[in-house]
């Protein structure tokens, strides 16, 4: 047995590995106080939408505040999490790759094993319950890489709701498999040709649709952005990730992790993992943004690393805009991180110093993508690969008796074409 293996064994918990806790009961109770009643996290968040949508946003806030106090709502949510999504997702110790870096153990929270292959389904199930309760027969969603679109189409099919998904025209081309998935499940995919034809423009179009069809339409926002109450309720649904990870860490390792790492685009998988640990001050938290060609080149999608506070898509947060306040085009190899804003709670966590926000480049993410595939037999989403790339660097600086939980937020099947193209292969 090597020194590292000895250390690993020594740190292993008394409870037999592989025993996973039952789904941790959801309560919707946040463990860090925000947001306030107006949806503010410090100076961030809030409600910045056109007047036509204000009533809908306020209604959603009232409905969610009422329902989130009812145990039956969370029981229905937890039932679907267990029986439809397949939760709890396991914590997996990536032993070979941990040993390669010789530092802290790298432990993966396997959200890629969820039904539809990513964490996005946690949120769409929660919001679809709200849509159903509010009697809205029509749901709309925006999507970048297609994961949130697929998760929305999935739950719409299951609940018999009409579903329309807005997707940048370029992303429709790049992510044709996900487009077909959505169509198979009966969703209408609408290519967006306005503006820069990417995720931000899909969001603009979804907001326009919502304003036009506000009476019968529920807008399922896919991340912890948008006007209040979206950043709060999406977080509450995704926080099941962190609650499970926290309990699993205690059960399987006998203590809390030394660090958490997750990729941040809008930031829903990250806040889901981070939130239940926010009061655990001994747990270091790292959000990893898309550095694209490198922060110094300006071609990236890292508003927390290189943006400044502004207002976009209904909330005040860090945004990527020029000196005149125009939103600038982002760049990332990962369509799901290719967004110029970020959830307001992340903006606040950055300012108060509770979480650290860093970035990795396209190249580093692609290296991590390949490394995890080869060494662990897990093909991660390119979004997720950003978190992995940073976790590898971080682990190397830590001791073998420490461990890092990385949110393996999604599987990489959707990215095969993108990576193959980079490799000059057609599949």
């Amino acid at each position: 047995m090597s020194a590292l293996e000895t250390a690993v064994t020594a740190a292993a918990p008394a409870i037999a590995p592989g025993v996973v806790p039952e789904t941790i009961a959801s309560t919707g109770q946040d463990q860090f106080s925000g947001p306030d009643v107006h949806g503010h996290f410090g100076q961030y968040g809030g409600v910045f939408v056109g007047e036509t949508l204000m009533a809908a946003v306020e209604e959603l806030d009232q409905v969610y505040r009422k329902l989130s106090k009812e145990p039956s709502f969370w029981q229905a949510f937890d039932y679907d999490m267990k029986h439809y999504v397949g939760r709890p997702s396991p914590l997996y110790y990536a032993e070979r790759i941990s040993k390669k870096f010789g530092g802290a153990k790298i432990v993966l929270k396997r959200e890629d094993l969820n039904h539809t292959g990513a964490h996005k389904i946690n949120n769409t199930i929660g919001q679809a319950l709200l849509a159903k309760y509010m009697g809205k027969p029509r749901i709309i969603a925006e999507t970048g890489a297609g994961q949130h679109g697929v998760a929305s189409a999935t739950i719409a099919a299951r609940l018999g709701l009409e579903c329309h998904v807005y997707m940048g025209a370029d992303d429709v081309q790049r992510q044709s498999a996900n487009v077909y998935r959505m169509k198979l499940m009966g969703a209408n995919v609408i290519p967006v040709i306005s503006g820069s034809r990417t995720l931000k423009d899909a969001l603009n179009e979804a907001l326009r649709d919502w304003a036009t069809n506000v009476d019968d339409t529920y807008y399922i926002i896919g991340t912890v952005a948008g006007p209040h109450p979206y950043p709060m309720l999406v977080r509450d649904f995704q926080a099941i990730i962190g609650r499970e990870a926290r309990a699993q860490s205690l059960q399987e390792y006998g203590r809390l992790p030394d660090a958490l790492v997750a990729c941040v685009g809008g930031g829903s998988n990250a806040i889901g993992l981070f939130h239940p640990f926010l009061r655990d001050s001994e747990v270091a938290i790292y959000g990893v943004e898309a550095g694209g060609d490198g922060i110094e080149t300006g071609r990236h999608a890292a508003p927390l690393s290189a943006g400044k506070p502004g207002v976009l898509h209904g909330n005040r947060t860090y945004v990527m805009s020029d000196a005149n306040g125009q939103i600038i085009e982002t760049h990332s190899v990962s369509a799901g991180l290719d967004y110029p804003g970020v959830g307001p709670e992340h903006a606040w966590l950055k300012d108060i110093g509770r979480a650290n926000y860093v970035s990795v480049t396209d190249t580093e993410a692609l290296d991590a993508f390949r490394m995890l595939s080869r060494m662990e037999g897990i093909i991660p989403a390119l979004e997720t690969a950003h978190g992995l790339a940073y976790a590898f660097k971080l682990a190397a600086t830590m001791r073998p008796d420490q461990f890092i939980v990385v949110n393996l937020s999604g599987r990489g099947d959707k990215d095969l074409n993108t990576v193959a193209k980079i490799d000059g292969i057609s599949v």
Partner: protein, 270 residues
């Protein structure tokens, strides 16, 4: 009394309807925008809404988004907008100008800086589409001392409790949004708008003008009949877009692109 309030009072006293065209600053270019504004006044505009172009105008339809994109391609910034207002004011000290846009450009240069420059340039009102009253207090604290009117929208979906807050914080006029949707969509139900506007009358003494979906003399007449006036945006921006398409900037082309406003003025006066 602000220039905007004085102007609308005078229009109402003359038993006329207020006509407010909207155009995007910098579309097709800054100098032509100034010429278009003068042309609009001679066509019978009472007030001008000058759009501050934004990259992500999520409350606007495709026509105004394209107008904003044309303006941004010309390098239009808030400084350009202020320069356009100043240039217009050199020869027109009478026609009120309302700056209409989205919040992020104001966040970028700072509210105080924005208010100072807008007032110094000669603007009269500010309408920020994605800034509801509940988030507007810090901007209102800056606009009031400078006599800049803050205009807010009332939509078909606006609730009673919101209506009170909007009426309390508005000055200049109330912008009633005719439809659920974005700019440039089609008006469906005139009867419902009539009811909503008359209900609004009981809440405020401010003039009520109707916008969204007014694209010809017919829709302008119908909306003016039940309100104090109308705002015409997309239909005008569509015509101004032709200046870019055909590359013309001469006086005849400019007059041609605003002819709709002249027609609407005549129809409203008839």
């Amino acid at each position: 009394m602000s220039r905007l309030t004085a102007c609308i009072n005078a229009v109402k006293a003359a038993n006329r309807k207020v006509l407010i065209p909207y155009l995007v600053a910098g579309d097709p270019d800054a100098d032509t925008t100034v010429a278009l504004m003068h042309q609009l006044v001679s066509d019978g505009a009472d007030v001008i809404e000058l759009g501050m172009p934004f990259s992500d105008p999520s409350s606007d339809g495709a026509i105004i988004q394209l107008g904003a994109e044309r303006a941004l391609r010309q390098g239009t910034s808030l400084h350009t907008v202020f320069a356009i207002v100043s240039a217009f004011r050199r020869t027109d000290r009478h026609t009120p100008i309302v700056l209409m846009g989205y919040l992020n450009p104001l966040e970028a240069i700072g509210y105080a800086n924005f208010v100072t420059q807008a007032a110094d340039a000669g603007a009269d009102g500010i309408l920020i589409v994605d800034l509801p009253v509940s988030e507007a207090q810090s901007l209102l604290a800056l606009t009031r001392p400078r006599d800049l009117d803050m205009i807010f929208l009332v939509a078909p979906t606006t609730t009673e409790s919101r209506l009170s807050a909007i009426c309390e914080n508005s000055s200049g006029y109330i912008y009633y949004v005719s439809l659920k949707g974005v700019t440039g969509a089609a008006i469906i139900d005139t009867g419902e708008i009539r009811e909503r506007v008359s209900a609004l009358r009981h809440r405020t003494q401010l003039p009520i003008v109707v916008g969204f979906g007014i694209k010809d003399t017919h829709s302008a007449d119908a909306m003016a009949e039940i309100s104090d006036g109308v705002i015409v945006g997309s239909a005008l921006v569509q015509k101004i877009g032709e200046l870019t398409e055909n590359g013309k900037r001469d006086a005849a082309a400019i007059a041609e692109s605003t002819a709709l406003i002249k027609d609407i003025r005549q129809s409203l006066n008839a």
